[in-house]
């Protein structure tokens, strides 16, 4: 059972300061032009308020855009190599919505399902998530179709819900959450039974993930269904890069004549090169097949194999898509498509 506290909005600054003073990196949504991203902050002055969704997800906190893994030195015939320890400062992620908070479960499933991951796990272990309930959504949100909700607590260590212009209801959910309270105990007052439901956004479900997962295998051979949806897809990697759960990566080397690094970086199943064999054969040669893979992977393969959905319904892919591919809409349509 979670503990409920009240946090005044005006004390956020002090909270950020105390967390920083305690050695934490605080990541929070920062506005830059029309874009919003999670960036390191030391004062709440820059922290964006009143947004539906950040442009990029918070996954970079545990799975950065690029991450050096190995440093090597070339010397004649020989090579010496040393591992680069992952950057894993204690991190407090402030302000992700419940969809983003839920995404860490999917990432964890991918990175630990069979073996551990020396770069992901240390970051996750030191990550504290202070989630922020949604009081508004838009046409792209579909968290309620994939098992989430605007006030869902999963994945958050503390979930804040803005009760009014001045105060948050703070649900202290885990030991990591309690550790945050312990750093600034005076900022958290006892709550007396305030309900958060009345302020939460209303997101109507569009489909049920379970039904989709059941239907998809039969839809796989229906080429025309996938083609119809993906004709306008231009095959960029935008959807995967803004997605909080997309975790496919590439491993690449960079070097000069003396040495270099091996790193991993984001990749996308939307690119033709993703699966291209050295022989020239490409198992997924056209965009409709790549779109099918994207949907199947998130809504069928991952649930079946890893027991987690590959989608949290944040809607970023659809908001950012240059050609308005709308995942929520298309998956909803698949639920109705004839198998």
């Amino acid at each position: 059972m979670s503990e409920q506290k009240i946090l005044q909005k005006k004390s956020l600054g002090e909270l950020v300061q105390k967390l920083t003073a305690a050695g934490n990196r605080v990541l929070a949504p920062v506005r830059s032009g029309e874009q919003l991203g999670f960036e390191e902050v030391t004062s709440p002055r820059k922290v964006a308020d009143d947004y539906i969704q950040t442009t990029r997800s918070a996954k970079a906190a545990v799975f950065p855009r690029y991450e050096p893994m190995l440093r090597f030195t070339l010397a004649g015939k020989d090579v010496s190599a040393e591992e680069i320890a992952p950057e894993s400062r204690p991190t407090v992620l402030f302000g992700p919505h419940p969809c983003d908070a839920a995404s860490f479960a999917t990432l964890t499933a991918v990175f630990t399902w069979d073996s551990g991951d020396a770069y992901f796990e240390p970051k996750l272990a030191k990550l504290t998530v202070i989630g922020l309930s949604c009081t508004k959504g838009d046409a792209y949100c579909f968290c309620t179709s994939v098992g989430g909700g605007p006030g869902d607590t999963r994945g958050s260590d503390i979930l804040l819900t803005p009760l009014d212009a001045n105060q948050y209801l703070a649900e202290i959910l885990t030991d990591k959450g309690r550790a945050v309270v312990a750093i600034a105990p005076t900022l958290f007052a006892n709550a007396n039974g305030q309900a958060k439901d009345r302020v939460l956004a209303k997101i109507a479900p569009r489909f049920t993930a379970k039904k989709i997962a059941e239907r998809l295998p039969a839809l796989f051979p229906k080429k025309e269904v996938w083609l119809e949806q993906s004709l306008r897809c231009v095959g960029c990697g935008c959807c995967a890069y803004v997605c909080p759960t997309c975790s496919c990566f590439d491993i690449q080397d960079e070097r000069d004549r003396y040495g270099g690094v091996r790193m991993r970086c984001w990749d996308s199943c939307g690119f033709g090169l993703f699966t291209l064999h050295a022989s020239g054969h490409n198992p997924r040669a056209v965009q409709s097949e790549r779109w099918r893979q994207r949907v199947m992977h998130k809504f069928s393969y991952q649930p079946e194999r890893l027991g987690v959905l590959g989608c949290v319904g944040c809607g970023r892919c659809s908001r950012s898509c240059p050609v308005d591919m709308n995942l929520g809409e298309h998956v909803g349509a698949l639920a109705e498509a004839k198998a």
Binding site: Q35, R56, R232, V234, C236, Q252, V323
Partner: protein
């Protein structure tokens, strides 16, 4: 809009084309999305207004779309210029597609031959709008350090999703320089140097070819104003070399031609 729908229906019913690529309703009232009308009963979904900005010529090179058969494309002036540029670069045969240009009075010009497109474009205004010019001026008035700070922040947000490349009809190389890895010219990772290199390369490879449709910047999820780089180079290519890409099917590419007396003042 009615004229457009009527024309599209005609083309589909007569079998002149297999698909009409136009714009239809999008996810929200601010957006439209590409619509692929293959039957006459789909043409009622076609829309035409100020939101119709995506350069649909980009679909000419997508295998899934090409497989549909002969196509008609709803075209704004920049789309027509793209087709002219394709012609100049020998990427498209004359009369192979139908362009449906909507004129100011709402009528439809059905253009198939390069000559017809050229003639149609000749009657349209050219050059940068005052707003476009102001955007360039604003950056040029900054100090050197301010410009560097501005662009470092802009391209620093790049996540290398290549939406700009995918949305650009003139980025049609089968193997983009970023896909070539022997050597790896441009780093795969979106690190600061890789981001800078990619955005510079993209701009340079379109210099003297770009028709300023703006699709690259519209496509960028991070809102990076990469179109300004193209616009600057377009303006320079015009003033320095008289290059006006996309107005003639015969024009030589500014950077693959030269004049012995090209003017410059910086070479010692």
């Amino acid at each position: 809009m009615e004229a457009l729908r009527t024309k599209a229906r005609e083309l589909l019913e007569s079998g002149a084309v297999k698909v009409v690529i136009g714009y239809g309703a999008g996810s929200d009232p601010q957006r439209v999305r590409a619509l692929f009308a293959r039957t006459a009963d789909q043409v009622g979904q076609l829309v035409w207004d100020h939101r119709c900005r995506q350069n649909l010529a980009a679909y000419l090179i997508k295998p899934d779309v090409k497989a549909l058969g002969r196509m008609a494309i709803v075209a704004r002036p920049a789309t027509l210029r793209t087709i002219m540029q394709y012609a100049a670069e020998n990427q498209l045969a004359n009369d192979s597609i139908v362009l449906l240009a909507v004129t100011d009075d709402g009528q439809i010009a059905e253009l198939t031959s390069f000559a017809a497109i050229e003639e149609h474009l000749a009657a349209l205004p050219r050059g940068l709008t005052p707003e476009q010019q102001q955007e360039l001026d604003k950056i040029e008035k900054m100090s050197l350090d301010e410009r560097w700070a501005f662009w470092s922040a802009e391209v620093g947000r790049c996540i290398k999703c290549y939406a700009c490349r995918a949305a650009c009809p003139l980025c049609y190389c089968h193997r983009c320089i970023t896909d070539v890895n022997q050597p790896q010219w441009i780093p795969i990772a979106s690190d600061p140097l890789g981001n800078l290199e990619w955005n510079v390369v993209r701009a340079m490879h379109l210099a003297g070819r770009c028709v300023d449709c703006g699709s690259c910047a519209d496509a960028c999820p991070e809102g990076i104003r990469i179109d300004l780089l193209n616009r600057l180079l377009g303006r320079e290519a015009l003033t320095q070399f008289g290059a006006e890409p996309g107005y003639s099917p015969r024009k030589e590419y500014a950077l693959s031609s030269f004049k012995p007396d090209d003017k410059e003042e910086f070479i010692r």
